[in-house]
C-alpha cells in the first residue's frame, strides 16, 4: 500500500493505467464483458424486444406447445428457440427470466453491500462493544453455508406471510434471503481495511481539523476500501444468481408463473429425456454464460486491484 496524501487518486491511477491495460490485453475478459453486457441489456429491454409476453396467459395456446427451435424440423418462425409445454416462447421466457435473475442478483448485492459497508465502517472505526456485537453476528452467519441460511430465511419469511402473497412476494423474499446471507463478507472486509486506515496519517489529520467521525468514514476511509468491496460485489453477483437458481430449483424460489432462469431450468429438467431439449438447454446455457462471465470479470478485477498477485 502506498502512503500518498490523496488516496482517491490512487484508485484513479490504477484505473487509468493498469486496470485498462490488463483489460485490453485479456481477450477472455473482453469476451466476458461483452457477454455480460449483452445479457444485461437484453434483460433490461425484455419488454420491448421480447417477441411475446410469455406471462400473459391469455395469449398462450396449448396448440403451440413443445415446438422446436426455428432451425429444427417442425419449428415455427414465431418462436425462435421453440416453446415449452404450455406453448410459451422459450426465447421470451429466457429474456424475462434473466431479468428476474439479474434483478435478484443486483438488488441483493446492492443491499448487502450497503449494509455490509456501513456495519464494517462503524465496527472498524469505533471498535469496542459495537464491533463485538456485529462481529459475533457475523461469526454466526459465516459459520453456516449460504445455501442453508438462504433456505432458512426464505422459509421463515414465507411462513410469516399469508399464502396468497407467496408468489407475488417471492422476489422480495429471495432478495432478502440472499442479502441476509451475504452482507457479512463486505462487513468483514471493510472492517479490517477500516482498522488499517484508521491509524493512517490522513485520518489523523482529518480528526485534528475537527471533522466529524461519519464525514471521515464516508469521505476519507470509504474510497480506500472500495477496491476489495467491488471485487466481492462482482463475485457475489454471480453467487447471488446461482443461489437464486438453486433455491428456485429446490422449489422455494420464483414460481413457474413468473420464472427466473433457475425456475425455467427446474421445469425444463423434467423434460430432459423426452426430446424437448430446448426448454432446458437454452435457459441453462444462458445462466452458465452469465454466471461465468460475471465470475471472470470479478476475477480480473481482483487480480488487477490486488498488487500482491502481480
Amino acid at each position: 500500500m502506498s502512503l500518498e496524501a490523496f488516496p482517491q487518486s490512487r484508485l484513479a491511477a490504477i484505473i487509468e493505467s493498469d486496470l485498462f491495460y490488463k483489460f485490453r490485453t485479456s481477450w477472455i475478459t473482453v469476451g466476458a464483458f461483452v457477454v455480460t453486457l449483452v445479457i444485461v441489456l437484453a434483460a433490461v429491454l425484455a419488454p420491448w424486444i421480447a417477441p411475446h409476453d410469455p406471462f400473459d396467459v391469455s395469449t398462450l395456446s396449448l396448440w403451440d406447445s413443445e415446438l422446436p427451435p426455428v432451425w429444427a424440423e417442425g419449428g415455427d418462425p414465431r418462436f425462435l428457440l421453440g416453446t415449452d409445454n404450455q406453448g410459451r416462447d422459450v426465447f421470451s421466457a429466457i429474456l424475462y427470466g434473466s431479468r428476474i435473475s439479474l434483478a435478484v442478483g443486483f438488488v441483493s448485492v446492492a443491499f448487502a453491500m450497503v449494509i455490509g459497508i456501513v456495519i464494517g465502517l462503524v465496527s472498524g472505526y469505533f471498535g469496542g462493544a459495537i464491533d463485538a456485537f456485529f462481529m459475533r453476528i457475523a461469526d454466526v452467519m459465516l459459520s453456516f453455508p449460504t445455501i442453508l441460511v438462504a433456505l432458512l430465511v426464505s422459509g421463515i419469511v414465507r411462513g410469516a406471510l399469508p399464502r396468497e402473497m407467496h408468489d407475488s412476494a417471492a422476489l422480495i423474499v429471495l432478495v432478502f434471503a440472499i442479502t441476509v446471507t451475504t452482507w457479512v463478507q463486505y462487513a468483514r472486509t471493510v472492517r479490517s481495511s477500516t482498522m488499517v486506515e484508521r491509524s493512517r496519517e490522513y485520518v489523523y489529520a482529518a480528526q485534528l481539523v475537527g471533522r466529524k467521525p461519519f464525514a471521515i468514514l464516508f469521505s476519507h476511509i470509504l474510497p480506500n476500501v472500495m477496491g476489495p468491496v467491488l471485487v466481492i460485489a462482482t463475485i457475489n453477483l454471480a453467487m447471488a444468481i446461482l443461489i437464486e437458481a438453486t433455491l428456485s430449483f429446490l422449489g422455494v424460489g420464483m414460481p413457474p408463473t413468473n420464472p427466473s432462469l433457475g425456475t425455467l431450468i427446474r421445469v425444463g429438467n423434467e423434460y430432459l429425456f423426452s426430446g424437448v431439449w430446448w426448454v432446458v438447454i437454452f435457459p441453462s446455457l444462458t445462466l452458465v454464460a452469465l454466471v461465468l462471465a460475471v465470475n471472470l470479470l470479478g476475477d480480473w478485477l481482483r487480480d488487477a486491484l490486488n498488487p500482491k498477485l502481480r
Binding site: S61, F273, S274
Partner: protein
C-alpha cells in the same frame, strides 16, 4: 449386467448369503418407485404405494384380483348370519413367514389392532363394532349397522400374527404420543407370497419368494429389490441403463423416449383416480376482486367454468393422449358409473361467455385456483393450462401451486376458491366414497373433503339411503342417480382419469392394475 449389477442396491451385511441368493435368483425384479414405502407396519399409515407394496408380504381376509373384484384370500367364504354379523371361514393350513399357523386368534388381534382408538387406519374399517372368534377357523365380524361395502374395506386390512405381535410388544399400532418405535414398523411377518429379507429405509427393501405360500404362484420371481428414486430423470436413467427392471411412475413426457429405447417399454392403462376441481360455494370468495357475492354459487357460472376448459386439448398436449376425459366423478370400473351419463360436450368458450353474461358476470371476475405441484400426473401443468383457458372467457384465475402437504392443508382448511383434488375411491372402490366425502354437506363424519361446503339436500338424502341399502342393484341405481344430480348441478368439475404409467425392461411382464398397485404375484420374467 452381471452379479455386481444385480447386487447393486445396497444390501447390508452377510456378503456370502447375499451372493448365494443373488446367484440363485435368476429372476430378480429390481424396481423403483418415486417415494419409499413409509413403513412395514400395515396399520401405521394409509399411503397407497406402501399398501400396494405390503400386499406382497401381508394379506387380508379378502383381496382384489386383477379386475378389482373381491376374491377370497385368507378367508375362503363368508356370509351374513345377521345383517350386522358377518361370518368368515378361514383358510386352513396357512402359515406365517415365521412358521406360525394362521388361526382365528390372528384375525381377531389384527382387526382389533387396525380399529384401535390410536390406529391411523381405523377410518378404513368404519363399520366394525367388534370381532369374535367362533372356532379356530371361524370368525364373526360384528358391524355397527348394515354395511354393503364392508368386504371392500377388508381388502385393505392386513392380518398379522398374534403370537409374533405379543412377543415383540406390537399388539397396538404405533402411538405417536408415546414417541416409541413399534417393532412391526421395521420388521414383518405376514402370510403373503414374498418374505421381507432386509430393509434400509430410503435405500432398498428386499423381498424373497415365499416357497410355502398357500396360493398357486402364477409368477416366477425369486426376489424383489425395491429402491425409492425421487428424481424422475434419475429413475428413467436407471431403467434405460439397465440398472432397473420396473419403474413407477413413468412421467408421461418420457413415454416416447422409453418406447424408442432398446430394451425398455412403457405400460399405460386407464386408472381409477379422477381429477377434479372443487369449488368454494360459501357466501364469499377468498381471493377475488368481488367482495360482496360469490359467483360460484350460481350453477351457470360453474357450468361456464367447466365449458371453458378444453379437456381434449389437455389430453392431447399435456397428457399425451393417455388420460381419459370424464364427465362423471368416478371411473368406469367403480360401481355407480354409467357410460350413458359420461358424455362430455366439446369445450365451447362462446357458450361459456354467454352463460357468464346470463349470470350477470359478463365482465368476468377473479378467482383463486389452488393446485398441488407433485401429487397428481402433471397437476401443475393442467392448472396452468386451465388458467390460460379461463382467461379467454374473462375469468382471471390466481394460480397458486404448492407442495401437496401445503396444498391440502389450505384446501381442507377451507381457504380455497377453486381447488384440484384427485379421488380414486379406494379402498372402497365405490361411488359411496365420493358421495360421503366429497358431495355430502359437511358435518357428522360426512363431507370431510367438501371444504367448499357444497350442499344439496337431495344428494344428502340419497347418500343416507345408499349407506344402508344391501340390495346391490337398487344401491347401484341410487348411486348413478346421485352422480347424475351432481353432474347436472356441476357440484364439482370433473376433469379426467389420469393414466397408470409404468415402464419395464423387455422380457418383464407385469399386468396393469387400475388401482395403480402392481400385483407382482402375477409378474413373470422371460
Amino acid at each position: 449386467m452381471t452379479l455386481t449389477t444385480r447386487l447393486k442396491t445396497g444390501i447390508a451385511i452377510g456378503a456370502l448369503t447375499t451372493l448365494l441368493a443373488g446367484a440363485a435368483g435368476a429372476n430378480t425384479l429390481r424396481m423403483a418407485d418415486s417415494s419409499d414405502i413409509a413403513a412395514m407396519d400395515p396399520h401405521s399409515m394409509t399411503e397407497s404405494n406402501t399398501i400396494g407394496f405390503l400386499n406382497h408380504v401381508y394379506e387380508g381376509l379378502v383381496r382384489y384380483n386383477q379386475d378389482l373384484e373381491v376374491e377370497p384370500a385368507l378367508a375362503t367364504s363368508w356370509e351374513f348370519v345377521e345383517p350386522t354379523r358377518l361370518r368368515f371361514s378361514l383358510r386352513e393350513g396357512v402359515t406365517f413367514h415365521n412358521g406360525n399357523p394362521f388361526t382365528a386368534d390372528d384375525v381377531v388381534a389384527s382387526l382389533e389392532r387396525a380399529a384401535h382408538e390410536s390406529s391411523p387406519v381405523k377410518s378404513n374399517i368404519p363399520s366394525m363394532a367388534s370381532v369374535e372368534k367362533v372356532d379356530d377357523l371361524t370368525v364373526d365380524l360384528i358391524l355397527t349397522g348394515p354395511d354393503p361395502i364392508v368386504l371392500n374395506y377388508l381388502t385393505n386390512i392386513h392380518i398379522l400374527d398374534r403370537e409374533w405381535m405379543e412377543e415383540n410388544d406390537a399388539l397396538l399400532p404405533a402411538d405417536m404420543r408415546g414417541g416409541r418405535e413399534n417393532y412391526a414398523v421395521a420388521n414383518s411377518n405376514g402370510t403373503g407370497p414374498f418374505i421381507l429379507e432386509s430393509r434400509q429405509p430410503d435405500a432398498s427393501t428386499v423381498l424373497t419368494v415365499n416357497e410355502d405360500w398357500w396360493d398357486e404362484p402364477q409368477h416366477n420371481l425369486t426376489r424383489i429389490e425395491f429402491s425409492p428414486i425421487g428424481s424422475d430423470a434419475t429413475r428413467i436413467a436407471a431403467l434405460l441403463s439397465g440398472e432397473l427392471d420396473f419403474i413407477m411412475p413413468a412421467p408421461l413426457q418420457d413415454i416416447d423416449r422409453i418406447n424408442r429405447s432398446d430394451g425398455a417399454k412403457a405400460i399405460i392403462a386407464p386408472a381409477l383416480r379422477t381429477i377434479m376441481l372443487g369449488m368454494n360455494q360459501t357466501e364469499k370468495l377468498h381471493n377475488s376482486n368481488l367482495t360482496d357475492a360469490n359467483p360460484l354459487q350460481d350453477r351457470r357460472v360453474r357450468e361456464a367454468l367447466w365449458r371453458a376448459i378444453d379437456m381434449e386439448l389437455i389430453r392431447k398436449k399435456i397428457m399425451r393422449d393417455m388420460s381419459r376425459n370424464s364427465a362423471l366423478l368416478v371411473a368406469p370400473p367403480v360401481p355407480g358409473y354409467d357410460a350413458a351419463l359420461d358424455v362430455l360436450p366439446p369445450a365451447d368458450a362462446e357458450k361459456a361467455k354467454a352463460l357468464l353474461a346470463e349470470a350477470g358476470y359478463g365482465d368476468g371476475f377473479e378467482v383463486g385456483l389452488d393446485c398441488p405441484n407433485s401429487r397428481y400426473v402433471n397437476d401443475e401443468e393442467i392448472c396452468q393450462a386451465i388458467t390460460s383457458m379461463w382467461s379467454r372467457i374473462g375469468v382471471k384465475a390466481n394460480l397458486s401451486s404448492q407442495t401437496p402437504s401445503k396444498h391440502f392443508e389450505k384446501v381442507l382448511g377451507g381457504g380455497s376458491d377453486v381447488y384440484m383434488v384427485g379421488w380414486a375411491t379406494l379402498p372402497m372402490l365405490d361411488t359411496y366414497s365420493v358421495l360421503s366425502a366429497l358431495l355430502h354437506t359437511p358435518g357428522e363424519r360426512m363431507g370431510a373433503w367438501n371444504p367448499g361446503r357444497y350442499s344439496n339436500a337431495e344428494l344428502d338424502a340419497l347418500t343416507a339411503k345408499v349407506a344402508v341399502e344391501l340390495d346391490t342393484d337398487k344401491r347401484t341405481a341410487m348411486m348413478t342417480e346421485a352422480l347424475k344430480i351432481a353432474r347436472d348441478d356441476v357440484a364439482i368439475i370433473p376433469l379426467h382419469q389420469q393414466p397408470l404409467a409404468w415402464a419395464v425392461r423387455d422380457g418383464v411382464n407385469i399386468p396393469a392394475a387400475a388401482d395403480n398397485k402392481p400385483r407382482l404375484w402375477y409378474a413373470t420374467i422371460d
